[in-house]
């Protein structure tokens, strides 16, 4: 295994190819254009197909068709494009198709801006489109982790027959970091349900339509069981220094890196600080939050590049046992470690230096 210096976006593309993805459909949008550009260059070299869709609406529906035909497939976009994809994601979840969707989140609402943000957390973790469903959501904080999570995303999508979102931002996409690609064969699984032509079997039908309310209820309950299984088997979280922590920071992706730097400075000031970094945003690491000790932890500070979205989950799972505070910047502004330090000190009632 060799380490190579790679831009996040290109590493994401290469990881998909390593995971056996040979089909990519997408529509350009900043700040993730390096992914489709990379795929349009690489896929023909490995016998794959890159198609630039006429829109995100079309692209996600191309994913539906391709995944329905039993083929590993991916798209990438950024916030406004992901909003357009919600129709297709809902149908894909309903039809139980495995697809991987990358969202390099930018500031919103509307056209918003092109700078990094985490303001699509609600959309990503609450299904996003219409209906009773969830997508799995993975949030890398380094280029190396982005590679591993994208490769895992294909396996998880197949395991659950469900869309898997990878939530990054412009920083993860633009950053150059050394990466190692895990040496592993793509874990391709049989897809006897796929529409490949019905030679030698009864026809397969891939659909999300269930007109009978009892059938649809049963289907939704079956989907629910998958989400429960995700919660049992595939929650991922990194915790840092939780033992004896009086303050716990909670952050994912880019803001978790900001928090790590802030933690060093806080330790220098004698603050016992820990970190909970959710890697899966859905399923959320509820047990980790629930296991924090109210006798030791004075408060949790959730840090986000939004005006407070994940903080709702943190509050939900602390069940009022521990005070939960929030600090965030929005619109594409990245919080600084200094700001986080000051927020913690202020909440502790300590002297805050100018």
């Amino acid at each position: 295994m060799t380490r190579v210096l790679m831009k996040g976006a290109e590493a994401v593309g290469e990881a998909a190819i390593k995971a056996g993805c040979r089909h990519f459909f997408g529509y350009p949008i900043t700040p993730q254009n390096e992914i489709p550009e990379y795929m349009s260059r690489r896929l023909p070299q490995v016998g794959g197909t890159y198609v630039q869709g006429e829109s995100e609406v079309a692209s996600i529906n191309m994913l539906f068709g391709c995944a329905g035909a039993g083929v590993r497939v991916m798209t990438s976009s950024s916030s406004p494009g992901i909003s357009l994809m919600q129709e297709g994601i809902s149908y894909i979840a309903g039809a139980e198709l495995p697809v991987v969707v990358i969202n390099m989140v930018r500031g919103g609402p509307g056209l918003g801006g092109i700078q990094p943000a985490q303001s699509d957390y609600f959309q990503a973790t609450r299904g996003g489109g219409h209906g009773d469903y969830y997508t799995m959501v993975l949030a890398p904080s380094t280029v190396q982790e982005a590679v591993e999570l994208v490769m895992d995303a294909f396996d998880l999508a197949d395991k659950y027959r469900n869309p898997v979102l990878v939530l990054g931002d412009g920083i993860i996409g633009q950053m150059m970091e050394p990466v190692e690609f895990p040496e592993r064969e793509p874990a391709l699984v049989d897809k006897p349900w796929a529409t490949t032509g019905c030679k030698g079997r009864e026809p397969n039908i891939v659909k999300s339509l269930l007109l009978d309310p009892y059938e649809l209820e049963e289907h939704n309950r079956k989907l629910q069981q998958k989400y429960e299984r995700m919660k049992r088997e595939d929650v991922r979280v990194e915790t840092v220094d939780l033992d004896g922590a009086e303050v716990v920071l909670c952050a994912y992706g880019t803001t978790s890196r900001v928090c790590r730097t802030a933690m060093e400075r806080l330790r220098e000031k004698g603050v016992k600080v820990g970190l909970v970094r959710p890697i899966t945003l859905f399923p959320f690491p509820e047990k980790t939050i629930q296991s924090l000790d109210p006798k030791k932890v004075k408060f949790i500070l959730t840090v986000e590049m939004s005006l407070g979205q994940m903080v709702q989950d943190v509050k939900l799972y602390t069940e009022g046992r521990i005070p939960v505070h929030f600090f965030g910047r929005t619109g594409g502004v990245v919080p600084t470690p200094q700001e986080v330090v000051r927020e913690v000190l202020k909440r502790l009632g300590k002297e805050v230096e100018k």
């Binding site: 006429e54 079309a58 529906n61 035909a69 129709e87 149908y91 032509g197 659909k207």
Partner: protein
């Protein structure tokens, strides 16, 4: 002495033995049969993947005896693109109504055609939204009354009916673009031939093929099935001329 028995009419293998939900006298059933016959005749059933639309034919997958996917409203050509690119050996067709194809799915159909996707699009033009209860479609004729054009379609207000076959034939990539009708047995025979040509060209890997079929909707039009066929022949065929708008050079009388 036994008399030799010959079967002269039977259900195509590509159709299931199942009653449909279509209204009495609705031509969707005829169109299904023609598609199924083309698949049978060309031996393509076991390679076929159909894409059902949102519209009266949303349940088409229950009637065809081949693999199927069910698309969101208007997105069938995008699904078909994904299927064909993922599995180039399959024979992929969409079956779409005029609301599905010419309104909400306009972008998907134009761009699938323009990319020259090697698929067959069967376009059922009945000038109305049948499934949702007879609202105006992009193909509703000028003056035609529907539940959302109660005074008749007014082109000043909402524009003119869209001629899809003509529109798509201006693109370079499509290899076969035709409009046929389902109003008389003679016309049905021609439509059958057109579908055969379209699927054959797809099987030969030639490119994008498009068969528009002028249809009727007795329920939405508020007519008996026979009146609806008459009205279609008179009014629909006057505004939507039949013909082959695009054909590969090698085909008889074809122009590129």
């Amino acid at each position: 002495m036994s008399v030799p028995v010959e079967v002269i009419f039977k259900r195509p293998e590509a159709l299931r033995d199942r009653p449909t939900h279509y209204c009495p006298g609705c031509p969707h059933g005829i169109a299904h049969r023609l598609v199924a016959e083309a698949l049978d005749d060309l031996g393509l059933r076991e390679r076929a993947v159909g894409v059902a639309p949102v519209g009266c034919s949303v349940l088409a997958y229950n009637y065809f005896n081949c693999d199927f996917q069910e698309a969101a409203h208007g997105r069938a050509p995008a699904l078909a693109t994904g299927i064909k690119r993922g599995r180039p050996d399959t024979i992929v067709f969409t079956y779409q109504g005029d609301g599905d194809l010419a309104s909400i799915g306009m972008a998907e159909i134009i761009h699938a055609a323009n990319r020259g996707e090697k698929i067959t699009v069967v376009f059922i033009n009945n000038a109305i939204y049948g499934m949702t209860g007879g609202q105006m479609a992009p193909t509703t004729l000028v003056g035609q009354k529907t539940t959302t054009s109660p005074y008749g379609r007014d082109p000043e207000q909402i524009g003119w009916p869209i001629r899809m076959a003509e529109l798509l034939s201006t693109l370079v990539a499509p290899v076969y673009v035709t409009r046929q009708a389902l109003y008389t047995p003679q016309l049905v025979r021609k439509a059958r031939k057109a579908l055969h040509t379209a699927f054959r060209l797809q099987a030969e890997g030639k490119g994008f093929t498009f068969v528009e079929l002028l249809s009727s909707c007795p329920t939405g039009w508020g007519m008996t099935p026979v009146e609806a066929l008459e009205w279609g022949k008179e009014k629909m065929m006057a505004y939507f001329p039949l013909g082959e708008f695009k054909k590969p050079e090698a085909e008889e009388g074809g122009k590129k």
